[in-house]
C-alpha cells in the first residue's frame, strides 16, 4: 500500500502519514513544523492540533 499523504493546512506542503496512523493522532509537518491532528482517515484530513489548554475540562 503506497504511504498515505495529505496536505498541511498551515503551509500546504504534502505530509506523509505513518503507515499505522490512527484518527486523532498528532503528526508534525516536515516543512513548517506545525503539530497537526489527523481528523479523518478515509480520505485523510489534517487540522491544526489544539495548543495545550492550561485549564482543560472540569
Amino acid at each position: 500500500m503506497s504511504p498515505l499523504h495529505s496536505t498541511c493546512p498551515i503551509c500546504d506542503a504534502t505530509v506523509e502519514l505513518p503507515g499505522d496512523v490512527s484518527a486523532s493522532q498528532v503528526v508534525r509537518c516536515g516543512d513548517c513544523g506545525a503539530d497537526l491532528e489527523v481528523q479523518a482517515l478515509d480520505p485523510p484530513v489534517l487540522v491544526e492540533a489544539p495548543a495545550e489548554e492550561e485549564d482543560w475540562g472540569e
Binding site: V26, A49, P50, E52, E54, W56, G57, E58
Partner: protein, 275 residues
C-alpha cells in the same frame, strides 16, 4: 446585584441561604454545584467518572454523553430544582435554568487535549468547554419580573450542544456581564484556610498576588478554582467573600464580612487570621 455561588457539598445549608436571600432585598443570581448528588448517583448507577491525564500532566474528568446525562439528572434536575423548591418555600421566586436554556450561558467547546496512547500522541475531544458570555437580556427580564435565576451546568457550545464547564468560570462570566457588585462563594469551610486541616486558620482577607501564588502551588481541582478566582479579580473586580455555606445564616454572615474577603490588590489587610 449579588452573585451567590452555592457549593455542591452535602452539608451546605440551602434552606438557610434561601431564608437569607428572602431578606436581602437586592437582585441576586445564584450559581450552584452538585458534586455530592452526582457522585451518589454515579455510584448507585455504577458509573465511574473517567479521568484523563494530558501529555503535560493535567488531570481532568472526561465528559462523554454519559457524563452529560449525569449532569442533567444531578445538576440541572435534582439539585437545581430542590434549590428552587427551598427558595420558593422561603418566599424567593426562583427560576432554575441550566446554561442550555435560552443559551443563558453560551460557551466554546474545548479544542481537545493531547494524551499519550499506545506510544503516540493523540488529541482527545470531549463535551467540555469554557463559558464565554451570559444571555443578559434573558437574565434582566427574569430579574425585572422579580425572579431569582438559579443557574448550573451544562452550558451551550457553539452549536447549542450541552457541554460541561467549571461553575466558577460561569460565576466570573456572570459577574462581568451583569456588572455584579458582590460575589459570595459559599463553601464547606469557614473561608479560605491557611492550613486546610485547621478550621481556625481562616484568612480574613486575601490579595490577588496571594491568589496567584496559591494557584501556582496548588494542583487539580483547587488549582482550577483559584484560576477562576484570579480571573474574577482581574476583571472589574466586585467585592468577593468566601464564607461558610453550612452556617445558620450563610449569606447573611458572608455579607457581614464573616469569612475571607478576597481583594483585588495589596489592599488586603495584613492577611491576618480571624481572632
Amino acid at each position: 446585584m449579588i452573585i451567590v455561588k452555592i457549593g455542591g457539598g452535602k452539608s451546605i445549608n440551602v434552606q438557610g441561604i434561601a431564608r437569607d436571600l428572602a431578606g436581602i432585598g437586592e437582585q441576586a443570581v445564584v450559581v450552584h454545584g452538585a458534586n455530592a448528588v452526582r457522585d451518589d448517583l454515579a455510584a448507585t448507577l455504577g458509573r465511574v467518572p473517567r479521568v484523563v491525564t494530558s501529555a503535560s500532566g493535567v488531570a481532568s474528568v472526561f465528559s462523554d454523553q454519559a457524563a452529560i446525562d449525569l449532569l442533567l439528572m444531578a445538576y440541572a434536575g435534582a439539585r437545581n430544582k430542590r434549590i428552587v423548591e427551598a427558595m420558593q418555600q422561603a418566599g424567593v421566586d426562583a427560576v432554575g435554568l441550566c446554561g442550555l436554556d435560552g443559551r443563558v450561558v453560551q460557551g466554546r467547546r474545548n479544542r481537545g487535549i493531547r494524551v499519550e496512547a499506545g506510544g503516540r500522541t493523540c488529541i482527545l475531544h470531549d463535551l467540555s468547554g469554557k463559558p464565554q458570555s451570559a444571555n443578559v437580556a434573558l437574565l434582566r427580564a427574569l430579574l425585572a419580573l422579580g425572579h431569582t435565576p438559579v443557574l448550573t451546568v451544562p452550558i451551550a457550545d457553539e452549536t447549542g450542544a450541552a457541554i460541561n464547564a467549571e461553575n466558577d468560570d460561569i460565576v466570573a462570566v456572570l459577574a462581568r456581564d451583569l456588572e455584579a457588585d458582590t460575589v459570595v462563594q459559599l463553601i464547606e469551610a469557614p473561608g479560605m484556610l491557611r492550613d486546610p486541616a485547621d478550621p481556625a486558620s481562616v484568612l480574613a482577607s486575601l490579595g490577588l498576588e496571594e491568589v496567584a501564588r496559591w494557584e501556582a502551588a496548588a494542583g487539580g481541582r483547587f488549582k482550577r478554582k483559584l484560576m477562576a478566582l484570579r480571573r474574577l479579580l482581574e476583571g472589574r473586580a466586585p467585592r468577593i467573600v468566601i464564607a461558610d455555606g453550612r452556617a445558620e445564616h450563610p449569606l447573611g454572615d458572608a455579607l457581614a464580612g464573616i469569612g475571607t474577603e478576597v481583594l483585588p490588590s495589596a489592599l488586603a489587610r495584613a492577611g491576618g487570621e480571624h481572632g
